[in-house]
């Protein structure tokens, strides 16, 4: 068992990272493409969750670090006061980015 006093990982390269993980993320990009195509083919009004997904996808390409953290923050309820009453038990996955409703009332 190799030991390291500070438990650090071996240094990795971008190439090694792509060797290990490119194929599965290639598949995930295709899955998202197919999902967005599916939404296109469906009828009815636009859905705020899909809109929030598109905004998140744009963050993937903005050239800044910590995309995962920033996307999670984007989708988060940014209010700070408890809501009056819980009317459901589940969660949706994102807030409505087009809404400025203060849900703390």
């Amino acid at each position: 068992m190799p030991e390291s006093p500070d438990n650090t990982a071996p240094i990795r390269t971008k190439k090694a990272t792509a060797d290990a993980y490119f194929i599965e993320h290639r598949a995930k990009v295709l899955d998202i493409a197919a999902f967005l195509d599916r939404v296109d083919r469906a009828g009815g009004e636009d859905d705020y969750r899909v809109a929030a997904l598109r905004v998140a996808i744009s963050l993937l390409l903005d050239g800044k670090p910590e995309r995962a953290r920033r996307i999670l923050e984007l989708w988060s309820d940014q209010t700070t006061v408890p809501i009056g009453k819980a009317h459901m038990k589940g969660a949706v996955g994102c807030v409505d980015l087009s809404s400025s409703t203060d849900r703390s009332t």
């Binding site: 030991e3 290990a20 989708w75 996955g93």
Partner: protein, 277 residues
């Protein structure tokens, strides 16, 4: 060898115990959880706590796994303040059971006023009985807000040491605030709605390996009681040292949990099949 410090075995099969034991699981802790529906009376909780403190440790022992537990009423049921207080009232009689480590998983779900009220009363109970706390943070879009509200509530009480609180289900946007305030944190490996093994290992690489653990939170929904050994494989795949794998999946949970003298991860010879049922 690993510890799964958050798994709801009441909802899992004996086959899961077998697979966990084979994968190297030596100890688990099972926080009290929501049943998938709201229990209708304090009697239901009484029986659930008996299961967690009596039946389930005996079931786990048959597979050589040491079982520990945490007691509470879940935040999903906190809108019923009356019932919640009844449940808070019966918890003390279970706190001396040999496998009870503390109060949990308490926290917030939709970040409502009543959830916060009942959380505060759980915190006060933990302080009164000098119990450790295992915190559930809300799901998805509610997590960030709830994590801050929970930490504020613990701080406001003033009687709880941060080092005796584990804040679970952290993700990339909540791990740093939790660690910065001195708490322990848990990463839950869960399909779709929490961390993948990859993202959990990313978080270790970014935020360090102190005061952090991984768990499966296996339950009655789509979840994986073998998530922790799978994350171990992910660490090895990246070339992390075996010492780090061991630290994250065994030493860290042992360090936190050993603040209770009741916790043990010592080897346990599997008992005979339980014939008392």
């Amino acid at each position: 060898m690993y510890i799964d410090p958050h798994v709801h075995m009441v909802s899992r099969t004996t086959d899961d115990y077998v697979r966990m034991a084979r994968a190297g699981c030596v100890a688990i802790t099972e926080p009290a959880f929501w049943a998938g529906y709201d229990r209708s009376s304090v009697g239901g909780f009484f029986d659930y706590f008996r299961l967690l403190t009596d039946f389930e440790p005996r079931r786990a022992a048959q597979f050589g796994i040491r079982h520990h537990t945490w007691l509470c009423i879940n935040s999903k049921e906190s809108e019923d303040v009356g019932l919640s207080r009844e449940v808070l009232g019966i918890i003390p009689q279970f706190l001396d059971a040999p496998n009870v480590l503390g109060i949990g998983e308490i926290g917030l779900n939709k970040n409502s006023r009543n959830e916060l009220l009942i959380l505060e009363e759980h915190i006060a109970l933990a302080a009164k009985y000098q119990q450790m706390i295992l915190i559930h943070t809300p799901h998805l879009e509610d997590k960030l807000k709830g994590t801050i509200l929970i930490m504020d509530a613990i701080k406001a009480h003033g009687g709880i040491s941060a080092g005796r609180v584990l804040i679970d289900h952290v993700e990339e946007h909540t791990v740093k605030p939790v660690l910065d305030r001195g708490y322990w944190c848990g990463m839950t490996l869960y399909p779709d709605t929490k961390c993948t093994p990859q993202r959990a290992v990313d978080i270790i690489e970014m935020y360090g390996n102190e005061r952090i653990w991984m768990n499966s939170a296996g339950d009655w929904g789509h979840s994986d009681p073998l998530a922790v050994p799978k994350a171990q494989m992910e660490m090895r795949r990246r070339g992390h040292f075996e010492s780090l794998v061991h630290k994250i999946t065994f030493e860290n949970p042992r360090s936190f949990l050993s603040q209770s003298a009741k916790f043990s991860a010592q080897p346990l010879t599997p008992t005979a099949a339980d014939v008392t049922r």
